[in-house]
Amino acid sequence: MPATVSGMTAVHDTTTGEPLHDVRLRVNDVWQEARVPARRLLSDFLRHDLRLTGTHVGCEHGVCGACTVLLDGAPVRSCLLLAVTVSGQSVTTVEGLGSPEAMHPVQQAFRECHGLQCGFCTPGFLTTAAAYLAQHPSPTEAEAREAISGNLCRCTGYQNIVRSVLRAAEIARERTPSASDR
């Protein structure tokens, strides 16, 4: 009997013969389903099965943070998770933060502050910063630096990323009038 996950019946990949499992994920507010082998990484699942290629893979061993997505709102490294293990949960990728027409404050801030160069690390910084700012709307510079200190960037030297995080906090405040403005 092939392995099954959470009571789902396994079918087999016609090319590779691998047992397949149904994964149902709420991705960027839309329920998505795909049939994948148990070993499919969440990063590969998002990128290649769902073709959401905004999430990048820089190391596949959990160190660079380029693959960071939000799992039920909290940042996780999608290269360290198997897609089957998060079935039923909710994932936000960089595509889900905002679009060119309606950017999330962190996206707008990274553009304003030149917080990216090659852009490869950027999705991981954006998701990390978005989650951080949701909890800490007014960080100091030191706190902003600390907040992004788990992600690697080889291009920017981080200075403009720190600036971007602070600016994003500002944009978020501008967009949501505070009590005193009302």
């Binding site: 990128r47 905004g54 990048h56 596949e60 990728t93 200190s149 960037c153």
Partner: protein, 811 residues
């Protein structure tokens, strides 16, 4: 008036796409392609005795397995021949390059031996894992000392392990030493690091059997040259091959090398199989099969007078080029020439040996030999200052080439094969700015008071000159479409430098259009076929000027056509906000879009606007519709090819504090003054400086390739190779000087590599200052510093003389 965009910190036009996950990098393409994986050598030096693929054959989803024998049996092309020697040099007397797949012998851990193609990467790796390669292990050569001793050989037929030996001498060094009142000798070492872009390499090939054409996508710094290499290797006409560099996740030098084995093998397999094939490098592969750089040992003798002026400089160094020399000896040539920095060396003799070792190949990594050269020269400056009890900035200033001496000919040959002539630069002004930025005297006083209070604090200073914008050329095509939109194409590639914005700024200014109306494409041979590539801080200088030239020719044509239409002298016209108008009477005007329509005489109208260009609408029948020496279309192509490099310069100062117990090194301040001529976009230039400094900090304090004696890379992961996070990088204070280059019309110089060049030098200077003993090897970790303290206490590491003087003062 359209406001000038050159010099403005405009936001990057590419970012909206990149921050919303819509950039297309290599692995974002070709979801349905077959995947390749490689069996790579686990040995640093071995003979390949047997390859047994039997166990892999029943992996479901396997499509093909290729070894060297399959390449040799390939009826078409030269895939089985050694990879090209990209940059031959007369001094490179024993060049060796590898094969796309190992032929009989492997010379470093990570060398590709077998290629597997399967339905997806997981399956390809399953199959690769089951392939059994039998090796006859040979003793490896690891490290410069081992290579130099020549007790073992990397290549059987290179008995001394010396790939190249080059000597350049300017003036009579022996006589200059004889006349030098003082001399000093230094032994200096720098270890290996690597470019380490966040995105590894990758290749995706689409073979179209119906028309016999190949489209290759590669995460490369040179798509035109990859295209030429693929065409040559696969025996295809050049016009049947295209190469596109999509969005590239950083390069920093490693992606200028080509063709990488995979750039040959993936297209070849795609043709063999008649299927799309893709390979995406994983991080471990990148560590063990892409290029490294920096490892060098230097022995320096310097003669100087009592004022600290250089009289004679004799430099010998040994460069570790790894297993092969596909990129020639560019790196040690750059060290040997750029070591001179902003100084007049007196008589100068430099000699290097480039040595084979059984390690990953060495090719340029941002800075490309300059960090080593700068480290060597700046250690010399600090040593002279220390020996004479002089201020370190003062000694440097005394040796500067002055602005009046520009252009300054060093009478040497630079990395582009051309004379080493500094075109411009005002080094005293750069230093003055740095002194102001950091507050040199106040900082020294402050540091002295901290020291008196028991803290270990030190200040470092380092200066460099960087030859940028080397030829041979770049070109550009600019077209104004009938919509009024401007499309610009240049052949070199982009890896995050913001070319889509800075090049658009240049074109928009030249053509008098809005930035939003300009679209720039780079690195796509379908759009522009002639190019060299992105390296040596050359993109802005080379393509920037080529775009300016091409745009100017388009502008000239636009004014001529508009002049005919408006019955005005083209000299009286200007283009403002996309409209050509008569200066002083803006009512007489014609949109650039209409000029574009008129530039292409038509028989058939395809829309409302194009009716104006049809045969019964055009009034003048006196000459042919397309005049002699003219072409239809409002477009132009032009090239920029400089006589030589243009030289940028900069100076960095750092204040560090070392922990008395743990020897941890903390950066208190980091100041940069940088002169790359007029800034096209200050936001982008500062970003380049930030990134360069961060890589420099990494290279000075954290990063190194740890090879053991068997040639195993012990830290081949981001877990163990310590690339700095934000917590390790200081806030960087920057000031600019903008000394124009006389060599190009925009007056610009390159900025890409600058930030990284002086880091090893400036940190050595500061740590030495904090600790009171001489630093001769970089990078330096806390444990190494701790060890140096112990050895210093035991009398094995000499004190700085200024320490003795301090002690005397205290007595």
């Amino acid at each position: 008036m359209t406001s000038r965009l050159f010099g403005e910190p405009v936001q990057r036009v590419e970012d909206a796409q990149l921050v919303t996950g819509r950039g297309h990098y290599l692995d974002d393409l070709g979801h349905d392609a077959l995947a390749a994986a490689f069996v790579r050598s686990p040995h640093a030096h071995a003979r390949v005795l047997d390859i047994d693929v039997t166990a892999a054959l029943d992996v479901e989803g396997l499509v093909a397995i290729y070894t060297y024998d399959d390449l040799a049996a390939s009826p078409r092309g030269t895939v089985a021949e050694a990879l090209p020697l990209l940059i031959p040099h007369p001094a490179l007397h024993a060049p060796r390059t590898g094969y796309a797949l190992a032929r009989e012998e492997v010379n470093h851990v990570g060398e590709a031996v077998v290629m597997v193609v399967a339905s997806d990467r997981y399956v390809a790796e399953d199959a690769a894992e089951r392939i059994v390669v039998t090796y006859g292990v040979l003793p490896p050569v690891v490290g410069i000392e081992a290579a130099r001793s020549a007790e073992r050989r990397t290549h059987d037929d290179v008995p001394d392990n010396v790939a190249a030996h080059l000597l350049q001498e300017v003036g009579d060094v022996q006589a200059a030493f004889a006349g030098s009142p003082r001399t000093l000798e230094l032994d200096l070492a720098i270890q290996r690091s690597a470019s380490m872009p966040l995105e590894g390499k990758g290749v995706y090939a689409r073979w179209d059997a119906e028309d016999g054409s190949m489209r290759v996508y590669s995460s490369t710094q040179t798509s035109t040259s990859v295209r030429a290499a693929v065409a040559a290797k696969l025996d295809l006409p050049l016009n049947k091959v295209d190469c596109i560099a999509p969005m590239v996740g950083g390069g920093f030098g490693v992606k200028i090398v080509h063709p990488w084995p995979e750039e040959v093998l993936v297209p070849w397999a795609a043709r063999e199989l008649g299927r799309e094939v893709k390979w995406v490098e994983d991080r471990r592969e990148h560590f063990v099969s892409s290029a490294h750089e920096r490892g060098q040992l230097h022995t320096i003798k310097v003669g100087f007078d009592d004022d600290g002026r250089l009289l004679a400089l004799d430099v010998r160094f040994w460069h570790d080029n790894g297993a092969y020399t596909p990129y020639g000896i560019i790196v040690p040539i750059i060290t040997s020439t750029q070591l001179l920095g902003p100084y007049k060396p007196g008589a100068y003799r430099v000699e290097f040996w480039s040595l084979y070792t059984n390690t990953v190949i060495v090719t340029p990594y941002r800075g490309a030999g300059r960090p080593q050269g700068c480290f060597a020269m700046e250690r010399v400056m600090d040593a002279i200052a220390d020996a004479l009890g002089l201020d370190r900035a003062e000694v440097r200033e005394r040796n500067f080439i002055t602005p009046e001496e520009m252009p300054y000919d060093h009478h040497m040959t630079f990395q582009d094969g051309r004379p080493l002539i500094y075109d411009s630069g005002d080094f005293p002004a750069t230093l003055a700015k740095l002194r102001t930025l950091i507050g040199w005297d106040d900082t020294l006083a402050q540091v002295a008071s901290w020291r008196a209070a028991g803290r270990r604090v030190g200040v470092g200073l380092a200066c460099y000159v960087e030859g940028t914008g080397v030829g041979p050329y770049e070109g550009a095509h600019v077209v104004v479409e009938t919509s009024g939109k401007v499309k610009v194409a240049t052949g070199l590639t982009t890896q995050g430098q913001g070319h889509f914005t800075s090049f658009a700024q240049i074109a928009a200014d030249e053509l008098g259009v809005a930035l939003e109306d300009v679209e720039v494409v780079t690195g796509d041979t379908r759009r522009f076929g002639y190019a060299v590539g992105t390296f040596a801080s050359r993109a802005a200088v080379m393509s920037g000027n080529a775009i300016a030239f091409a745009a100017r020719s388009v502008r000239e044509k636009a004014l001529r056509i508009a002049g005919d239409a408006l019955e005005a002298d083209p000299g009286d016209l200007e283009i403002v906000d996309g409209v050509v108008r008569v200066k002083g009477s803006p009512a007489a005007s014609i949109p650039l879009a209409t000029v574009a329509v008129l530039s292409n005489p038509l028989r058939y109208a395809f829309d409302e606007a194009s009716k104006a260009a049809t045969q019964f609408a055009v009034g003048d029948t006196s000459g042919p519709p397309v005049r002699e020496d003219d072409e239809p279309g409002l477009e132009g192509t032009d090239y920029y090819s400089p006589v030589g490099a243009t030289f940028a310069n900069g100076m960095h100062a750092v204040v560090v504090e070392t922990d008395p117990e743990t020897a941890e090194i903390k950066v208190l301040r980091y100041c940069v003054v940088h002169d790359c001529g007029p800034l096209i976009n200050p936001l982008i230039v500062e970003g380049q400086v930030h990134g360069g400094v961060a890589q420099g900090v990494g290279g000075a304090l954290y990063e190194r390739m740890e090879y053991d004696e068997n040639g195993q890379l012990l830290n081949a992961s981001f877990m163990d190779f310590l690339m700095p996070y934000a917590s390790e990088i200081p806030h960087i204070e920057i000031d600019h000087l903008e000394t124009r280059s006389p060599l190009n019309p925009l007056g610009i110089k390159g900025a890409g590599e600058a930030g990284v060049i002086p880091s090893a030098a400036v940190f050595a200077s500061a740590i030495e200052d904090a600790e009171g003993f001489v630093i001769t090897a970089m990078p330096i970790s806390p444990s190494e510093l701790f060890d140096l303290r112990r050895r210093h206490a035991a009398g094995e590491v000499p004190s700085l003389r200024r320490e003795d003087r301090r002690t005397e003062e205290m007595r």
